[in-house]
């Protein structure tokens, strides 16, 4: 078999190898792990890019890789990769690279760096594994890898009790959601006797919404909504985001997107056939309600925060709401072909476009918040002022991120939000109005942060310096992507987003073709 055939597994095996080697490398030298982990992440990002060329260049049928056998069979674990999987993997690849470079300087004064970089690699492995797999139980295993590694990273700053509380809380919630995910998988196995997603989807489409399948779908939506940090299961996320060190908040946010991946995969690929054949709009409405609640509660909680990272965490929840709103409309009209063509596809496109935009600008804002903390040693907005005098580059980056998250034209946030507004308006104008209102509140909140942290007289008690160059470089990667997405939104939409939406709406072929 050629190298290109082995590509899917290499994407996962390379960071995994890196993670296993890092403790040994850490024994040799303290600074070695940071460079090797970045190297492994860069190689896997390169492999993801190659994979993207292959998948996006193909005719839209998923690439199937059977583990441990040369002939595809649904009885073994398979990797099933379509444009949507690769789309989510691209987000993780870009963000993780930026985070690992950013962390070079940030972790300088901490011990335990080898473990830190091991866990970063493992979070990336978890996300890649979740997005590339075609087997439901395998998805659970990588779900657990991702949550355990994340909570380990949240507890990295060990001189504070709060970080352990946040880690415990996040770990508790994610373990519970992992266990109920396993319970849902067991319920599916009890009915169909298989674990392959394509085979299960075939069975579910044939059976429709039996009581058991309703329970399964409810459990799956709840579990993945928790992982994505959506209201009403958002409780641990703000703590975890605000306690994680520097770039880890960004990585956290990118790993939460894997929860969105699971949610969309469950409602489209797994249950899409049943939903569309029965014209069942309730599932879509549940996702829409989750989205609206997240949007609104997220932004109102953000307005009253003093802690800059807490504030951004609540904005992150609010932005997740936009994604859920857009895609929820798409799920609601799954059974209605005309509505789907008229605005449903546009709504899903808006949701997915917002996913990647959110990862970029929210990631950038978390990195700037980390830089503000690095420079001032505090996260309290009332104690910060006048950072714009000495931290000119960070100020500029923060402004770019704030403009993008508020949806001010011509930023990339504007193009994806516009797509969501337009399509949701045709579905239900009231939802669109709420989304616009939330956007205004977002702008107000970021004006407040900018005013209190970057403007005003210099801080007297402390000498403020610009952050080290590796942190600037990490942020610059995301800024470059934001600028590119802002300049060519049409191109991104056509090449990256639309194939992913098409892939999401298509049923997966069964490996080996039964």
């Amino acid at each position: 078999m050629s190298f290109m055939d082995q590509l899917p597994i290499l994407i996962i095996a390379v960071p995994l190898l890196g993670a296993f080697l890092t403790p040994i490398l850490g024994m040799m030298s303290k600074k070695l792990p940071r460079y090797t982990s970045t190297l492994f992440l860069a190689v896997s990002a390169l492999l993801v890019a190659l994979m993207a060329f292959e998948v996006y260049g193909g005719d839209g049928t998923p690439i199937i890789y059977t583990l441990g056998s040369s002939d595809p069979t649904p009885f073994r674990i398979v990797l099933e990769i379509d444009a949507f999987s690769v789309f989510m993997a691209i987000i993780m690849a870009g963000v993780s690279l930026a985070v690992s470079i950013y962390s070079w300087s940030f972790t300088d004064k901490y011990t335990g760096q080898d473990k830190f970089y091991t866990l970063i690699l493992l979070v990336v492995v978890g996300s890649y594994g979740m997005t590339l797999t075609g087997d439901l139980f395998n998805l659970f295993v990588f779900f657990e890898i991702s949550s355990i590694a994340l909570s380990g990273l949240v507890a990295f700053r060990m001189n504070r009790g709060e970080s352990f509380e946040a880690a415990f809380k996040y770990m508790m919630y994610s373990t519970l959601s992992g266990l109920f995910l396993l319970f849902a998988i067991a319920l599916l196995y009890s009915q169909y006797g298989v674990l392959n997603i394509a085979l299960l989807a075939q069975g579910i489409t044939a059976d429709g919404f039996t009581p058991l399948n309703k329970v399964v779908l409810a459990l799956l939506i709840g579990d993945f909504a928790m992982k994505a940090g959506a209201v009403p299961l958002h409780m641990p996320s703000p703590y975890a985001y605000s306690e994680s060190p520097g770039g880890i908040s960004t990585l956290f946010m990118a790993a939460s997107q894997a929860g969105l991946y699971g949610l969309f995969r469950a409602s489209f690929t797994l249950f899409g056939g049943a939903i569309s054949s029965m014209g069942y709009a309730a599932v879509g409405w549940i996702v829409i309600i989750l989205g609206v609640l997240s949007m609104f509660i997220g932004v109102t909680m953000a307005l009253v925060q003093k802690d800059v990272k807490r504030l951004m965490a609540y904005h992150c929840i609010s932005q997740t709401g936009y994604i859920l709103l857009g895609v929820g409309v798409g799920i609601a009209v799954l059974g209605d072909a005309t509505a789907m063509d008229r605005y449903g596809k546009a709504a899903i496109e808006g949701g997915l476009f917002h996913t990647i935009n959110n990862a970029l600008y929210k990631g950038l804002l978390f990195l700037t918040a980390g830089a503000m903390f690095y420079a001032t040693g505090t996260r309290n907005l009332n104690e910060m002022r006048g950072l714009g005098h000495n931290m000119k580059i960070t100020t500029m980056f923060f402004l770019i991120g704030a403009i993008a998250i508020s949806g001010i034209p011509p930023s990339n946030g504007f193009s994806s939000k516009l797509l969501i507004y337009e399509s949701v308006f045709q579905f239900n104008p009231a939802l669109s109005a709420i989304a616009m209102f939330v956007s205004v509140l977002t702008l107000a909140s970021f004006v407040k942060v900018f005013y209190s942290a970057f403007l005003g007289p210099k801080m007297k008690d402390k000498e403020i310096k610009e952050v080290p160059s590796s942190m600037i470089f990490g942020m610059a990667i995301l800024v470059a992507a934001i600028l590119a997405f802002s300049l060519f939104p049409g191109l991104v939409l056509d090449t990256l987003i639309k194939p992913a939406v098409e892939a999401l709406l298509r049923a997966w072929p069964i490996p080996g073709g039964v």
Binding site: E144, A155, G161, A186
Partner: protein
């Protein structure tokens, strides 16, 4: 009804575990509640694989007859190891929380209330 007994046991175990996680404030008890739910889910997996009158799916010195379903057993093995890992990490966090606050009660910690 009696043949549903294993499933009802599973539901009760998971219910008790969930009750502990929601209403107890002692962190060790919360970890125990999580372990209980995990045992319930593992038991559920195992019961799914049972076939009436069947033997374990091992051919060493096998005397004939039908065999139970092996996949749920394999899944349970995986899930047990994952459970060990999560419990270990949760307990490490509890140790550290105790170090910082001198208490393992969630009410004494600042952010774990509720």
């Amino acid at each position: 009804m009696i043949d549903m007994a294993p499933y009802i046991t599973v539901a009760i175990i998971i219910g008790i575990g969930l009750y502990i996680c929601m209403f107890k404030s002692n962190l060790i008890k919360i970890v125990m509640g999580i372990s209980l739910i995990e045992s319930g889910v593992n038991l559920f997996l195992i019961t799914l694989g049972y076939r009436h009158g069947a033997y374990a799916p091992i051919f060493t010195m096998f005397n004939g007859g039908i065999m139970t379903l092996p996949t749920p057993q394999a899944l349970t093995l995986t899930s047990i190891v994952i459970g060990v890992a999560t419990t270990a990490l949760l307990l490490a966090f509890v140790i550290k929380i105790y170090r910082h606050y001198g208490s393992i009660d969630a009410k004494d910690a600042r952010r774990l209330k509720g």
